[in-house]
Symmetry: C2
Subunit: 185 residues, 2 copies
DNA sequence: GGCCTCATGTAATCGGTTACATGATTAG
DNA sequence: CTAATCATGTAACCGATTACATGAGGCC
């Protein structure tokens, strides 16, 4: 069995992280699939990419799950649109996600940056809180890794932990820089 | 010196990276599937994990691809074994892989560490070369990222590059530390 | 008697990727 | 006239994960 959740941030049922991008996009305004895809391409392609087909697939799945709803809009001279909006359940899940630090260092690159992307549009208070929370997670992880490194039985194991520690440390420094920038602004 | 070729390390057809672990395990001695899995569990679980079923599945696939061969060994009082060895094609592919730096920073965590694991058992010359090569890749990447960061059109874009740069820098430092350790030894 | 180890797999499931299908409109 | 844009999807494929199947032997 998995030793009970080491991470203080329980992962409310595993969800495809890409779903949060969609939730985030819809959080400010309703969108139909085609526009949603454009938005993801333009604003998030550096952080995350998902194909056109998958955008539609995810929207359907999320609707089945009750996270979004759609209204059909007929247009003359153009195909119909299905305009999606957040359902209350979706909004709740997004709000929870966006303020919660990621549990693993490797998730900073995509998921944490996405959180910042969405929080950056709102008030800076929640952004600061997220960053502090993430710093906490990093420090916890570093503490645990240092322990394990001390107890390591092989050079390779030590090396692995050294690698991870160095990555975590860099994350921490980057987070501090980010924190400063926000406070100055 | 600075080959502009972004892919100075062409990825000879995309292969499931886990296959290299199997090739690496078989490089020193033949193994049957059950033992192979045990080995991966014990020696590599920190770096990489694959399930028992997948170990068998990969072995079959790799045999179809001509990378490994097997001989059936009958035992009394125990089920038959299929003992796998590297075919020449497999050995060639492994030798190529193990000395080639990874192309992306995010691949250090798993793939590069695996390379070190296997190279660590051999002469330190090739290990040193791998490390130097990886340093080169890192520096190239950092140069390109710095350029793009300069040309970035949004704060979020700059932030993303800063994050990646900080990770790459940490990798570089870690590699230097590793280099020193090897030369001292 | 019941459970773990040895040893190999197959089957079911789930989800991501790629290709394909449709069909009108507008820009060059 | 041709290509791209708008707008939605389905179908086929591929691979990873999980569960299940088998069956002898040894250990408590």
């Amino acid at each position: 069995m998995n030793s009970q959740n080491l991470n203080s941030y329980p992962a409310e049922r595993d969800r495809n992280p890409a779903e949060y991008l969609i939730l985030g996009a819809l959080a400010t305004r309703p969108l139909h699939g085609y526009d949603l895809y454009q938005y993801l391409e333009q604003d998030l392609s550096l952080i995350w990419t998902l194909g056109r087909s998958q955008t539609y697939a995810l929207l359907s799945r999320m609707e089945r799950a009750g996270l979004v709803t759609h209204k059909r809009q007929t247009q003359e001279k153009r195909p119909d649109r299905k305009t999606f909006s957040l359902a209350p359940a979706g909004r709740k899940i997004f709000n929870q996600w966006v303020k919660t630090p990621v549990a693993h260092i490797r998730d900073l690159r995509l998921e944490f940056l996405a959180k910042i992307h969405f929080l950056g549009k709102g008030d800076s208070k929640s952004l600061e809180k997220l960053i502090e929370g993430q710093q906490g997670v990093c420090r916890e992880k570093m503490g645990r890794m240092a322990e394990r490194k001390g107890a390591a039985s092989s050079g390779m194991e030590r090396l692995t932990y050294e690698y991870r520690l160095s990555q975590a440390e860099a994350v921490l420094k980057w987070l501090e820089g980010l924190q400063k920038k926000i406070k100055e602004k």
